[in-house]
């Protein structure tokens, strides 16, 4: 009669980890490609409202950002709790918007200038007063294409 028996202590063969770097590299490349480094530090509280009818902004290179909201707790001692405007990396007054827009325009190539979109990232607790002022400034700077930043939700409660 045939006998099946374990011959000694053979153990499992070691799993080859040679393909592990490949897998990791694959993930690495994915994240490298999809990464966008955050280029501005947020100085204001920025919880954007939600909406259902939003559209994507197609080209990121054509977008300039204006942040509005109450300064974060770190800056409240210096700047108070009234909503303020942040352009690039610092708090700015209303008058600075026109210079900001023209410098953003200068940084683009000529062909793209007409397509400049201003994305307004406004905290949802802001009052419309400051928003209206900013919009008036944008009209004066003839940056008429704007986008009110919002998150996509299926339904507004």
């Amino acid at each position: 009669m045939a006998k099946f028996e374990r011959k000694g202590k053979k153990g499992m063969p070691a799993i080859s980890t040679a393909s592990l770097p490949d897998i990791v590299f694959m993930l690495l490349f994915f994240f490298m490609v999809s990464t966008t480094m955050r280029d501005t530090e947020l100085l204001v509280r920025n919880r954007i409202p939600s909406a259902t009818e939003i559209v994507k902004i197609e080209k990121k290179s054509l977008v300039s950002y204006i942040f509005i909201g109450t300064p974060t707790s770190k800056y409240q001692k210096l700047y108070g709790t009234e909503p303020r405007i942040q352009l690039n990396d610092s708090f700015k007054s209303l008058d600075a918007i026109r210079d900001f827009i023209s410098s953003e325009r200068d940084a683009m190539n000529e062909y793209d200038r007409a397509f400049l979109t201003v994305s307004l990232k406004i905290d949802e607790d802001t009052r419309m007063g400051v928003v209206t002022d900013v919009k008036q400034e944008l009209r004066k700077a003839s940056a008429l294409k704007i986008s009110y930043a919002a998150k996509r939700v299926e339904k507004i409660e």
């Binding site: 980890t17 040679a18 592990l20 770097p21 990791v24 590299f25 993930l27 690495l28 994240f31 490298m32 999809s34 990464t35 966008t36 480094m37 955050r38 409202p49 909406a51 259902t52 009818e53 939003i54 559209v55 994507k56 902004i57 990121k60 977008v63 009234e82 979109t117 994305s119 307004l120 406004i122 905290d123 949802e124 607790d125 802001t126 009052r127 419309m128 007063g129 400051v130 928003v131 209206t132 919009k135 008036q136 944008l138 009209r139 004066k140 003839s142 940056a143 008429l144 294409k145 704007i146 986008s147 009110y148 930043a149 919002a150 998150k151 996509r152 507004i156």
Partner: protein, 193 residues
């Protein structure tokens, strides 16, 4: 004669790759910019006299007022935001030819032939004290009203969703249902901020 090289130990490769991977994982922000796209009206000329405004018939204007305590007044009546979308749609389409709702002008549009295009304008006015959240809700409802009308038209005419249509057909629909939301010149009624 060259000696056969010993194999290079590649096991630390994984560690290096992991290190990089973790770095990129941490620094990644995968935010897609989304928002409600709008066009601001151009600034009026300075020498243009103020009373030289384009006359628009009262019935063609759908006024939406938002006051500083976030209440809505639509065409002179208080209203909840949830009703706004249907009211706006009714105003634009005017199915029963109500004399208080928008007028139509027959216009030649590609793909559709002669279409009654609404002359209605939705005028949105807010106070300085209105909260941005409320303002966005109202904007969203108004845009949604137009989008739903376009979607309906796309389904009836082409049997497809609006976003799946080729660009020229979308243009045709946009012409048949033009989005006219005007934001009035700012006024300050409810006091500063």
């Amino acid at each position: 004669m060259a000696r056969p090289l010993g194999e290079i130990n590649a096991s630390s490769m994984a560690d290096i790759a992991f290190l990089l991977l973790i770095f990129f994982l941490v620094t990644t922000t995968m935010n897609v910019d989304t928002g409600l796209a709008r066009m601001l009206p151009p600034m009026p000329d300075k020498d243009q006299p103020i009373d030289d405004k384009v006359e628009v018939k009262q019935r063609n204007v759908f006024t939406v007022l938002v006051n500083k305590s976030d209440r809505l007044l639509v065409e002179g009546q208080p209203m909840d935001v949830s009703m706004l979308r249907d009211k706006a749609k009714e105003f634009v389409v005017n199915p029963k030819n109500d004399i208080n709702l928008s007028e139509n002008t027959p216009t030649e549009v590609d793909f559709f032939g002669i279409v009654n295009v609404s002359k209605g304008i939705i005028s949105l006015q807010n106070d300085r004290g209105t909260s941005y959240n409320m303002y966005m809700k109202v904007q969203n409802e108004l845009v949604a009203a137009y989008n739903e009308l376009r979607e309906d038209l796309a389904r009836n005419k082409f049997g497809k969703a609006y976003k799946d249509l080729p660009e020229d057909q979308q243009k045709g629909i946009q012409k048949a249902i033009p989005m006219r939301i005007s934001e009035a010149e700012p006024k300050s009624i409810g006091g500063k901020n």
